[in-house]
Structures are given as C-alpha cells and as structure tokens.
Symmetry: C2
Subunit: 469 residues, 2 copies
C-alpha cells in the first residue's frame, strides 16, 4: 500500500488528520480552497509535532511529505486514504464526494469527518458508494485515539477491514458503529451534557467554570479511564449491574432534568456564556489553552500507558508495532525518543530520575537484543541493575529528541556492564552518561545466577565485538 | 478544633468519608445499624489505605482512631463534623437529622451525602437547621476531590466557611452550589448521559462496552482535565465561545437525541444491560475493577499534579499544607513517602529512574532546609546535580513506605555533596543509597557560581555538624 493520504478540507479537524498521517510516516496531499489553509494547517501541525511524539517511548517513523493542491482531482491522486472534513452541509459534502469518487483510486478508502450525517446519506447518488464511510474523529485528532467508523449496508466487509487497519496503523481506535444513527454515539452523549449544561447556565444555577469543575474534579476522572457503565458496575458492588439499575433507575423518573426541552439560544444567553467563559479562561489565549490541554492529555495518557489501561493500552499496542530491532553496530543505538512534558521539574529541565529511566529503557533494549526479552523474563530470568553512575552534562528540555548509544564494557557469567551516552539528535552533543552494572537473577529465588546458555553466548559475543572496536 | 468526625451510615459512601477523615488524621466515630457495617467499612478502608497515600509525595498525618458506636447520640459526641450517608429516603434522613441535631455540639457542621434532596428539604422541621448542609461526594470518596457543598438561606456564612475549611483540609474541593436544585449539578449532567446511554443500549445501537470506549478513548480524556466549556472554548478557536455556540448551537434542534423521553426499565432491558456488562467486565471481580480504577485514578491524578493542573493542582495545594519542615538531626530525614503504583515497571518493582527521583526529591528538601527554596530559585539561583552514584540493594514495591536519611559529605563554595540512604520504614532496611554531587548555579548564565551568603552559611554549618557526628 502506498502511504499517501488526501485531506479534503483543512481547519482544526482536517489539520489534525493531516498531522496524524504525516507524523506516522504518510505523505499528505491537501485540497482546501481557503487562502488561509496553509497557515491554519501549519498551526495544527506545530501543536501535533510537539505533542504526539511525546506519547511514545520510541521515535516515530520519519515524517511524510506535505503538499497542497489546487483541485480535488489532483489531491486524491494515488491516495490510499481520502478524508473529507468540509463544513457540515450535505449539499457541499455531496459535491465533494462526487469528485473524490470520480478521481480517486478504486481501492482508496474515503472517510468523512461528519459529526451528524449517516453514511447512507453521504453515499446517496454516488457512482461508487462502497468506499465511502463515516470516520468521525475527536479534537485534538492528533492525540485522541477515538474515531467512530460508521459503515452502511453498501460497504463490503473488506472496505471496513481496510479502514480499521489503516486507522489502527496511525494510532487510532476505530469504534465500529454497527447501526447508522444521526450523530453516531459519542456526540449524542456530548449533546446530552451540553443541553443540560446550557440550562444550568441559563437558570443561573452554575457558571461555565463551576460546571467544568463539577466535571474535572469528579466524574470526568472516572470516565477518562473506564467510561460510564463500568464505573456504575463498580458502584453496584458485588450485587452487580442489575442491582445498580434497580437502585438508581427510579431517579430517572424524578424531576432532575430539563432535557425534555431545549433552551433558546437568545443573544442574552450566548452573551452570558461567553462572558462566563471569559472570566474563567480569558487570561489565557486559545493557543495557551491548547498547549495546556495537550500537555495534560499527554501526561494522563502516559499515566494510563504505565497502567496498560484504557487509552494507554492502545498506545502500548501501537508502539509495539513502531519499535525497530537494534542494528548490530558499535556502539549500539539502544534508544531514540522525544522528552515528554511530564518528565520536567520546576527548574524547567528533565528531572534527574528520568535520566535513570532513559538509561534503564536503553538497558532493556540491549537485554532484548541479547535475547533477554519478555518471554525470557516470563520464564523466570532477568537482569537486575545493581549500581549506576550518572553524569549530568547538559540540561535536557521537553520536546528534545535524544538517542542513547550503548557500549558493552563487560559481559561474562552473571555480570553485564554497560556504558550509555545520551545524545541530542540535533547536534550529537553528549547530554549525560551512565555506567550501569547489572547482575543476572532468577526471579524465583531473587538471587543471582548464570544466564541461559543462548543469552550468555550473545552477551559474550557482543562484549567481544565491543572490546575490539 | 477537635479533629473528630461522626459517620452516620457506612456503605461505600460513608466508608469513603470515614477513610478520608481517618487518613488525614481525624478520629472517626461510626454509627451504622447494619451488622455488616464493620466489614464493609473495613473493605473500603483497605482500598483507601492503599491508594490515597500514593497521591502524595509526602507522608500523610498519623492515622486517626476508628470506633463504632451503638447510637447516633454516642457517635456524634464531640464531633466537629457529622456526615450522614443513609439510604436515599427523606423520612429516614429526617429521623437521623433530628437525632444528630439534638445530640451534636452546637458548632458541629452536619453534612448530608444526598445526591437528590435539596438542603431546605433536609432542614425542614429541625430545631436547628442552620448547621445542616448538603455535602455530596463522588465515589471513590477517598480519591476524587469533588464535593458539592449546597447550603440554603438558613445556613449562616460562618457555617459555610467552616464547612469549606474542613473539606479543603481533608483534601477535597468544595464546589459551592449557590442555588438549591434537585440533584445539584454533577448528577444532572451524569443523568443526561445515563439516559441517552440507556436508549442507545435499548435500541441496539451500542453495547455498554462500546459506549464506555466512546467515552474513555475520546471526550472522557478531555473532560478529566478541562471539563466541557473550556474544551469547547478551544474548539471555537480565536473567534471565541460565542462563535462556537453559533456554529454548534443549531445541532441542538436536530433529531440527535431521545432525551425527551425515558426508556422503561423493563426486565428485558435490565437483563440486556447486565449481560453486556458481564461480557465487558465479567472476567474481573468488583474488587479487581476497583483496584484497577484506583490505580488509574492515582496515575492520572499524579500526571495532573506534575502539570499542576485540574485535580493535580488541588493535590499540590493540599500537599503544601501537609509537608513538615525537616528536623535538625544527623542524619537529616529528608523524605517520607509511599511508593505509588505508577512507579513500578514490568519486573513488578520500582523502576530504576524512580530511585533517582526519590533522591532528587530528598535533595530538594535539603536545599529548602538550607534556604535554597522556591523564592531563592525564583530569584535566579539554584543547585544542579552533576553526578549521582546509586546502589540498588533491595527491591522496592508499590505501596511500601520509605524514608530517606541524608548526610552532608561536603558543603563549601559552589560544591554540595550528599549521601542518601533510602530505608524501608517498617524495618529500617537500607534499600538503596545515593552519592549526589551538586553545583550551585546561576539560572541566568546557566553557569556555576557561589551561593548567596545566607545559604552558604547554612550549608557550611550543616556540613560542619554532619562532619562532627
């Protein structure tokens, strides 16, 4: 498959798609008649280039080529994926899809970012409706994994499978929506809260800031990791979900809501909301808020990675496919990565402890290289670090690209000694070094012991080759 | 103020309150006629003892005394706070409040965990309604900071202020709900999603697992850190909130919802939901899910701490009040803490890098002790670590309580050299040591320089006293 994506319509959503494809190594061809399109996409791309690589503990593929094209026909040429993100008007989308279908490759998947329309509405009247699906993402597209993949009866299974494979490949989670419905799934839930929130503001019960606090200090934290139903399953306790519903179901009949009605968006209500929002966040620019949001998302998603849960489990699975085996060179380049925002401290530079983590990750990569991999560890054997000596030579900041070059100083019997240099990718400057002494252990007895023969042989061979050069 | 809290009604919510008060150093007196109350509260307490201390980078106060009492009158004796968490029936709550008001101290604050009733409904007919407020928490009460504080016109400002002070003191965020309303604020938003979710399940559009995925891979992550309105403010871009509403407001009129109606909770629908929930999570026990949830919450909230945002900013503010100045002893005990779940790696023990972080935190405490504190750093001077040598002597696991004892090896001019021992609190075993060499620097020139005279004097005095003993 040629890794070429066509982006029809820039803006925040189209730009987010462009960024995700580019940073995952795809070439991206953009069509957008807006004379500001390059600037707008460039701004989204700046944010994505900064934040997305921080989600991963390994370097992303080399960035693809970005190009702008004057016509849809030219943009979609050779594309394996076409993503439409034009304004939410059916007539406009119809026009776009006619052109895309006419000029794109017959095996290209064509996704629509529509938040409201059903795929059958978009497919209506097309020469080939079989390749058009809804692929509805969530802002920021370059960080949030969710994409609602909504096919209709006109999409054959192989199109759905190809769509899933490509979306998963760029680090997204395609949620297969099995039944077409206006606004799909997530936006219906969002709409419900938005409606109720508007009433609470209109009735003077709460300000926008109080509503946000009610979410982010409470159920928002629960939902980020488990969602609604699993959270309630726990609330039901050992008695289970049916018990929970019998206990809390009746509240649905109580007068707890104004959802049956929609508040009229008078100028006055709009002004109230805008004023409250200014009071809440007006001291920070939209760019500043975006950066804060992205930093928070990166830090939280990395926390979930460490737990291998929810969005973090998706990232771990995706990263496993991105990692490359080490190349047999002296020194071994054992790690390439970007320093994420959650690794810095009040000095504004990387916390001491994170150097230790980088060198520990580098050692893991060397261990895998000699055959002491996950299966080996699961079998009850591993290397434990006994002593490290770290020299801090230059300050390291969030966003910097670094690599670790590792040399084997000693590899015999239980003993394995490495010397790591962490270098800035941009200029090769050595930012820190680490001498690391490891002992091979039995995870059962927690005592040192000799490695398995095949691992020992590779350790000794590696040590010999590093001694010679 | 005597730090005594009375808990009327155990269960998950009452037990959560008991745990929070106890772990923040309050004595807790429980009344609950349920013969299983001790067991149930004990289980909640087990979870809280494990998870809550992990949110903090410093030790919590010594745990208070827990006692059980046969009558409300006995339980509320001497209490500064009384928390009611009995089942959601108004007649039962009325009976409880009459007894609590009759027997509690006239300056005790009396909070109700009710999720539905207004404070004026609870106050109705009481001899002294002025002390009764709604303080509605969120499960798990021992981790989530949100508590909706809803007073009525009958509560004088000093009661509201005292309530806020006590709740903040135990690490919660009292959201002052200024206008009484059924179900307060957060549960109205939750109800909205719950209703729409029930319809989507009933109509066969999505399973409980798909709904949870639609939340936790998408907007749940946004809401955990910013809530709804600030997220939409960003979506509106530079054009602002009014622009966002003009763009997305009309969707409210579209047929995107079934909120106008409530699905009937037939046996069939209840079974459908319970079956789907079993398929989604049935392989894990409720205790297992609770532990997973708590681990995720700890890891995410710690991530937000590092960003000093949302729930993490609340934790940072709370921790600042918990930290004690170091006692002038040799060695200096520079740190006491619990190892959190997000510090372990695939071996099941603490990652190498986190030893570095612990020793870095210990060094920070020593720096503060000699006057190189936040104000000093803000003034452009600090110590940077140049070299560390860490010996790993014993494995460290999540949940273990440790302390660091630090000795000054050298303190003259720009040079500051420390020797840290990390010890298990339980038996004093040394788990790791660190020799740390720091240089004093100017944050402006990023070069080494002498400390300010008052800091240098304290460093030299400390070095002299450590040399002598």
């Amino acid at each position: 498959m040629t890794k070429i994506a066509a982006i029809i319509g820039g803006g925040v959503i189209g730009g987010g798609w462009a960024a995700r494809f580019l940073l995952m190594g795809w070439d991206v061809r953009v069509f957008d008649p807006d004379p500001q399109a390059e600037r707008k996409i460039g701004e989204v791309l700046d944010g994505a280039r900064r934040a997305l690589p921080m989600l991963y503990d390994t370097a992303l593929p080399a960035e693809g080529q970005l190009s702008y094209h004057p016509t849809i026909a030219e943009a979609v040429e050779g594309a394996a994926w076409v993503q439409e993100s034009v304004p939410e008007r059916l007539d406009l989308k119809e026009k776009v899809f006619h052109e895309v279908v006419a000029h794109s490759s017959p095996d290209a998947v064509i996704g629509s970012s529509t938040s409201g329309y059903k795929p059958s509405e978009l497919q209506d009247g097309l020469a080939d409706p079989s390749r058009v699906v809804v692929t509805h993402p969530f802002n920021p597209v370059y960080l949030l994994p969710l994409v609602e993949l909504v096919p209709s009866a006109k999409n054959p299974p192989e199109v759905i499978d190809r769509a899933k494979e490509i979306l998963t490949g760029i680090g997204m989670y395609p949620l297969h929506v099995r039944k077409e419905i206006d606004a799909h799934i997530a936006d219906r839930l969002l709409e419900a809260v938005w409606r109720e929130g508007l009433w609470l503001v209109k009735d003077g019960v709460a300000t926008t800031e109080e509503l946000d606090d009610a979410i982010r200090y409470g159920f928002g934290l629960r939902w980020a990791q488990m969602g609604l139903f699993e959270t309630y399953r726990i609330a039901g306790g050992e008695a289970g979900m049916a018990h929970f519903i019998s206990q809390f179901g009746p509240a649905l009949k109580w007068p707890w809501t104004k959802l049956m009605d929609v508040p009229e968006l008078t100028d006055e209500l709009v002004k109230t909301i805008a004023d409250q929002s200014d009071a809440q966040s007006g001291s920070t620019s939209i760019r500043g808020l975006e950066r804060r949001r992205d930093n928070n998302l990166v830090a939280m998603m990395r926390a979930l990675r460490q737990q291998d849960q929810a969005a973090g489990a998706l990232l771990n699975a995706h990263e496993a496919g991105l990692r490359q085996p080490l190349e047999d060179a002296v020194p071994l380049t054992s790690l390439r990565r970007v320093i994420p925002v959650d690794w810095t401290d009040y000095n504004g530079h990387m916390n001491e402890g994170r150097y230790g983590q980088i060198f520990s990750d580098a050692a893991d990569a060397v261990m895998k290289h000699v055959g002491a991999d996950e299966a080996y560890i699961a079998g009850g054997l591993s290397y434990f670090t006994v002593e490290t000596k770290v020299a801090y030579l230059a300050e390291t900041h969030a966003g910097e690209r670094v690599r670790v070059d590792s040399r084997v100083l000693l590899g015999e019997g239980k003993k394995f000694k490495l010397f790591h240099e962490m270098k800035r990718e941009a200029d090769g400057e050595v930012m820190a070094t680490c001498e690391q002494f490891m002992l091979h252990v039995s995870l059962e007895t927690r005592r040192s012991c000799d490695p398995a023969p095949e691992v020992l042989a590779r350790v000794e061979a590696l040590a010999a080759s590093h001694r010679e050069t």
